[in-house]
Structure formats: structure tokens, C-alpha cells
Symmetry: C2
Subunit: 415 residues, 2 copies
């Protein structure tokens, strides 16, 4: 992509109405635009990142047998009344001109449970799981954390269905592992802790995935021995100790809830009377689990963790482009050589953003740091005198001079 044609522009003005680091950097880098509080447009650079995050999540969900579906955002009032959740604050309510009323989905138990009930009758049909990557809506009164907590946001929600508690437990552990694979692939595994939290009405504890970040709205207590954490909401119940080893020397941290998994058990299958026929021809109630992971929140979290005073530092796996090719100077020769390199990278299927704009070196370098692409390659009069380009990793201070004819090799080595 030629940067001169890229829709969305960098800016060094700090958006007045945004206090969060993620929103400030995303807006300044031309990744997102804020339409209103909690509601953002993803510009081409931002859409590419989001797409990559969603694909990583998709692959890991497929890997544990999740089947991708797409449920609607518009939901039936009656189904939410069945579970007693129609009047929960977070629900946005929709009205049509002919006075039909819908709920706007902030979660999908009220859709997926009656849906599964239509197709599943026998123990032979278990276990199974379905997931979607879909837009959700939440009536958040305060929406001040950028894309960490939007009124409209992308969510991966997976639902699993089981004939026995043992099988639910087995799948639940597999999902836990899949979540850590996602966190690993997007570069935040080391900062992310499986965290014990309140289980609500129907389970002693639930599990969240909390990622340590100063921007986090949650407080957690980490046990360094077990590499797990406890949410503040239940730390007193646990007498300030680790639920695994009893360690009382826990470390307090601010954290972002990047995912949660929950044994719903029979909460929704009972509400919708979702039963199956077991091996002995007896009716049994279905057991369920749900597993949430928000791509947009994950994107915001990664930025909160991976930035410096100059801008974003994207992990390679989700960077909008792998290479930022920066051409300096107006000489025909420089332009021609830059275009040649641009084309050769494209031929090798290396994702490249080509800064072909008529701007100063200072502006181009500042923009490049702000956008945060992993590798920066500079073509200038000086480098071309040595048949070379400068190559620099975003997180490093120093660049290296590389012969143009060994550039592709060098890039592949660094990516």
C-alpha cells in the first residue's frame, strides 16, 4: 500500500476527549476514528490489525472443534424475558416504526440455547461447540477506556454443550489452553493470568483472563508460585490467600479482563427446557459453558502494553504491515529504487506500507514510529551510494545498513 493513498492520516494532536492511551495512539496513528463515546470506525490500518487478531482467535477456536456460525444482533424480547434478563441496564433496546421491540445482543445465550435445542436431541450429538465473531452492543454509561470498553465492539463468543459435567470440565480446560495460545500469539501471554473470580449464582468461582496493565479497571492479586491470580471481588472470601497453594504473599496489580470462561452448567438449558435423551433413554438436562474474548478489547490491551513515547510497537503477528518502506528525497533515482524495492517485497508476499509521500525525513520517521510497523526500511541518497538501505526494528534504537540484494533474506530473518 502506498501511504500517499492510504485513507486515514496520522496526527500529533492529542485527541481532547480521549484519556486512554489506546484510543489516543489509535486515533493519532490513523487506525481508528471516534464517532462518539464508545463508538469507533476502524480505518484501513486498524481494520487490518483487527482482521489479524480475529483470525488468530478463529484458528484457535477451530482447533478445539468450535464451529463458526453467525447469530443476529437483533434478539427476541420474549427470549430475554424467559431468562429474566430483559431489563438489565446494559441491554440496548430497538424500536421499529411499526412498534416492534428488539434487544440488541450484548451476549448470545438467549439465542444459542433455543437454537441448539432445535437440532440436538440425543447423547450421540454431544459434545459440540459453536462460536461467532460478531458485533456486540452494550449500554455503558461511562465509555472512557477507548476500545477497551466500547458501546459497540467485536466479540468472539463460544458456547459448548455437554452431556456430563465431566465432559464440560474437559472442554473447559481445553478452552483455557486455547485462550493462552491466543495470548501467546498476540504477544501478551507473560502478562496474562488465569484469575479466580466470582462465579455468580451457580458456581463457586469462574475464571477470567486478566492482563496486567496500568489502564486496567480491575485489581488482581497474583500468586507468583502458581502463576495464577485472584480478582479483588473474592480475595476476602479466600482470606487473602492463593486458592491453589495457600500462599498469602500475593502481589496487587491493575489488570484488564481480556477474556472470561464460565461453566454455565444448567442456568440457560433449564430456562429453555433444553434436554436430551441419554444412553438409557432417559431425559437429561444439557450442560453448557461459555467463553468470551473480545478482538477489539484485545487490540486495545496490546497497545496499552506495547508502546513507547513515540507510538505503538505492534507484535509481528498482528501488525497492519510487516515492513514500513520509507523513501527519502525527491531524486528520480531514489524514487525509482524505492519503487523497485516496494515491488520486490510485494512479489515476495511481504506486507509493505510504502511511504512515498512528499514529506521531510523528520515527519516520515515520526509517523513511522507512531504507526509502529515492526521493520522500517529507509531508502535515501546516502544509502543508495552504497547500494544499501537502512533497516531498523521498531523496538530497537539502532539501524543496520544492508545491501539491497540481500534485503529479502534479512527481512525474512527478522520477521
Amino acid at each position: 500500500m502506498k501511504q500517499s493513498q492510504l485513507f486515514g492520516k496520522t496526527t500529533f494532536e492529542i485527541p481532547k476527549d480521549e484519556t486512554s492511551t489506546n484510543a489516543q495512539l489509535l486515533i493519532r496513528g490513523g487506525f481508528v476514528d471516534k464517532l462518539m463515546a464508545g463508538v469507533y470506525t476502524y480505518l484501513p490500518l486498524g481494520k487490518r490489525v483487527l482482521w489479524k487478531i480475529e483470525n488468530i482467535i478463529r484458528e484457535e477456536m477451530n482447533d478445539i472443534g468450535g464451529q463458526e456460525i453467525l447469530m443476529p444482533a437483533l434478539q427476541k424480547k420474549e427470549d430475554w424475558q424467559t431468562t429474566g434478563r430483559w431489563d438489565i441496564d446494559v441491554m440496548m433496546k430497538v424500536k421499529t416504526f411499526f412498534d416492534k421491540e428488539y434487544g440488541l445482543g450484548w451476549t448470545h445465550e438467549e439465542v444459542v440455547t433455543p437454537l441448539a435445542k432445535k437440532y440436538i436431541r440425543s447423547y450421540k450429538d454431544f459434545p459440540f461447540s459453536v462460536f461467532q465473531i460478531q458485533t456486540k452492543f452494550r449500554s455503558e454509561k461511562r465509555a472512557k477506556s477507548g476500545i477497551l470498553r466500547g458501546r459497540e465492539f467485536s466479540m468472539k463468543d463460544l458456547y459448548s454443550f455437554h452431556a456430563s459435567e465431566k465432559d464440560l470440565d474437559r472442554f473447559y480446560d481445553e478452552a483455557k489452553d486455547a485462550y493462552f495460545k491466543v495470548f501467546d500469539r498476540v504477544g501478551i501471554k507473560d502478562q496474562t493470568y488465569l484469575t479466580f473470580a466470582s462465579g455468580g449464582d451457580f458456581s463457586k468461582y469462574s475464571h477470567e483472563f486478566q492482563t496486567i496493565a496500568s489502564a486496567g479497571e480491575d485489581t488482581i492479586y497474583i500468586c507468583d508460585k502458581c502463576k495464577i491470580a485472584v480478582n479483588k471481588e473474592i480475595i476476602e472470601d479466600l482470606k487473602n490467600s492463593c486458592p491453589k497453594c495457600g500462599n498469602k504473599n500475593l502481589k496487587e496489580e491493575k489488570a484488564i479482563e481480556t477474556g472470561n470462561i464460565f461453566k454455565l452448567k444448567t442456568r440457560f438449558s433449564e430456562a429453555f427446557n433444553f434436554k436430551f435423551i441419554d444412553e438409557n433413554s432417559r431425559e437429561n438436562i444439557v450442560l453448557m459453558g461459555c467463553y468470551g474474548l473480545g478482538p477489539t478489547r484485545l487490540m486495545g490491551t496490546i497497545i496499552e502494553l506495547s508502546n513507547d513515547e513515540n507510538g505503538i510497537i505492534w507484535p509481528k503477528s498482528i501488525a497492519p504491515y510487516q515492513v514500513h518502506l520509507v523513501s527519502l528525497g525527491k531524486d528520480k533515482n531514489i524514487i525509482n529504487e524505492s519503487v523497485k524495492i516496494y515491488k520486490s517485497l510485494q512479489e515476495k508476499k511481504i506486507e509493505v506500507l510504502f511511504d512515498d509521500r512528499d514529506e521531510s525525513a523528520g515527519v516520515k520517521f515520526k509517523d513511522s514510529d507512531l504507526i509502529g510497523i515492526p521493520l522500517r526500511i529507509v531508502v535515501s541518497k546516502k544509502t543508495l551510494e552504497k547500494d544499501s538501505v537502512e533497516i531498523k526494528e521498531r523496538q530497537k534504537k539502532n539501524f543496520e545498513l544492508i545491501q539491497i540484494n540481500s534485503l529479502i533474506e534479512k527481512i525474512k530473518e527478522l520477521l
Copy 2:
């Protein structure tokens, strides 16, 4: 994918509340589930088809320089008041518990125009175009055409921006061509006509793409000489003649509007006072075009055109799987050989649905025709005696016996 594990089941019951062919076949084939009138869940098979259609559209929009973004569904009341469209019937309105009101997007001129205005100032920035593939909402009083006209549906909307009318005209023609490439790739080009329709307030005519189908809600008049059509709404204005050649011998047909393109010109740029500085440092108003194409409607249209009394006949480019591998009989040998073939197809990256269910040949064949995958391969005791399988194209009556060791070659020849 093993069919025994596939979420969503076929049924030969005709859904009582669906009169449209597309919805009946999609529900019976296990592609979609109806949540309520005009609102559907896409099950794994349906999601795969939708995904492929969206990708074809995406590729063609990228090809004419469209940059992919993602705008929100929640929209600002004030922006819709600016253009005078807030109180249009089709708008669904959203309320939060803290009494904030939003519009739910059925189109995005009210978002994209102020958005572009933020980034574009100079003639050097033109032309450019952005598109999204996103979920839209419409308050349709009657929603009886299955996925042809939903209350919630997928839409590709592209918006182009120009410094001159000449450039708008140029891009408009390119978009027209891109649309025909999409129709070609999904197999409905021959039935699809560029159709002159009413231009509304600000243009004499607009163009629609109308695909001939008995389920269509529109009536068009086709000029066989020019291969174009005229929408009924303007045929009297045109004195019942072709706008190109004057031919009065036009053929009346029912048709589905599968796409539309529109020169918005200054309708929205004026409303939002979106100007740019031209080469002579003068302020000028921006010109715009918009281009709609709905993946879900396209999916419904294809089914309306491509089916027989037994079920759907998917074009290869968008079929959920390329091969339906059907195993008949409970012999260990048959099962083992079928699994071997299943694995070898997967290794060759041929998309295969493997009917490994414990069902009769009759049930399996009926299901296979209903689901409509392009190639059916049958493994049975009889075929294995000759080291062979039966291969049959969905739209053909006869099958061919093929040696297993030349199966891959044969599949590649037919796909």
C-alpha cells in the same frame, strides 16, 4: 468436516412460516436458522457460503482501489438530522437505559461523509474510495422474502470521493465493471442486467443491477439488443423504449435488485459542508458516489436461480465444500477406505464434507442433493470391489466410476 459432527441438520419438513424458495432450502439444508421474521442465524454451512461470497466481493472492491474499513452500526442522531433522514421509516432507533438515542445504520452516508471530511483537505487526496462489509438493519414491515430482504443483513457498501464530475464518471464505470465481475464469479452474470432506474432528487437516472428471478419484487423491461434493462418505475418516462437504442420491443421480467450504484454528487457533501482546496487554491465541493451489494441477498438470489426439486445447486466458487464424500455401509473396510479418501482430500486442500453418519443410502443421497455440494463421491462395497468410487456432479443425472488412485486428478479436472 465430518457430517456426524456438523452443527445444523437437514430436514425435509417445509418450514410453515417461510414462503420463499431461498429460505425454505436454506433452512431445510441446515444453512440458516430463522430467529424471527427477517432475522436469521447463519449455521456452519451457511457461514462458509457467506464468507466466500464476501471474499469475492472484497477482492473485486480491492481491485478498483477500495480500501476496507469498518464503520459502526450505532449512529449519531444529529448526523441523520443534518441530512433530514432521521425520521425515515426504515430506521431502527436504539435507546439506552440512560436515555441516549442512536440510529441503527441501514446505510452509511451519514458516517462516511463527516469521516472523510476529517482527513481530506486537498485536491491531491483525490480520488479515493472506502468500503466495508458490515451488518445493516432495516425496519421492514413485511419481511417475507427470506434472506433477500432481512431486517438484519450483510451489506458491502463502497463510497467514492472525487474532485471532478469527470473523475466520478470514470470511477462509476469501473465500479460497474467490478460488479459484473462479482456476478460472473458467483455464476449469475448472464441473468443480471444493468438497469436504468429513478435517480431520485439529484440525478436523472441511477443504475441498478437486476437479476431475473420469479421471486423478484421488481419488474424490469429488457432490451435484448443492448443487454440492458429499465425498471418499471421509469418505463413510462422513457415512452416504453430502450434508453440506449430506442428499441420498443422490450421483454418484461420479474427481477431481484442485487446491487445498485449511485452518483450521489453533492447531496451529502453539501449537507456536511465537505469541501476541498483545488489546484488554484479555491474551495470546491466534493463529489461522491455510493455502491451497494448485499452478500446475504446475493446468496439468496443464487439459490433462487440455482436449485432443482431436490435442493440447492451451489456454484463451485461459493459452495460450502467442494466435495461431498458419502460412505455407504457399516463394513470396517468401507469405513477405513472412506476415512483414507477423506484424509487424502484434506491433505490436497480439497474442501470436503464427509458423510460418516449411520444412515441409509436413501437418506444420505437426499441430504446430499439438498445441501447441493458440486461433487458427490460415493464409497460402497460395490465400488470398492473395483477399487473405485462413484463421482457425480450435482447438476448431472449420471455418475462415473473412477479408480481411487486417479480420484484426485478427476476432482481437479471437474472443479
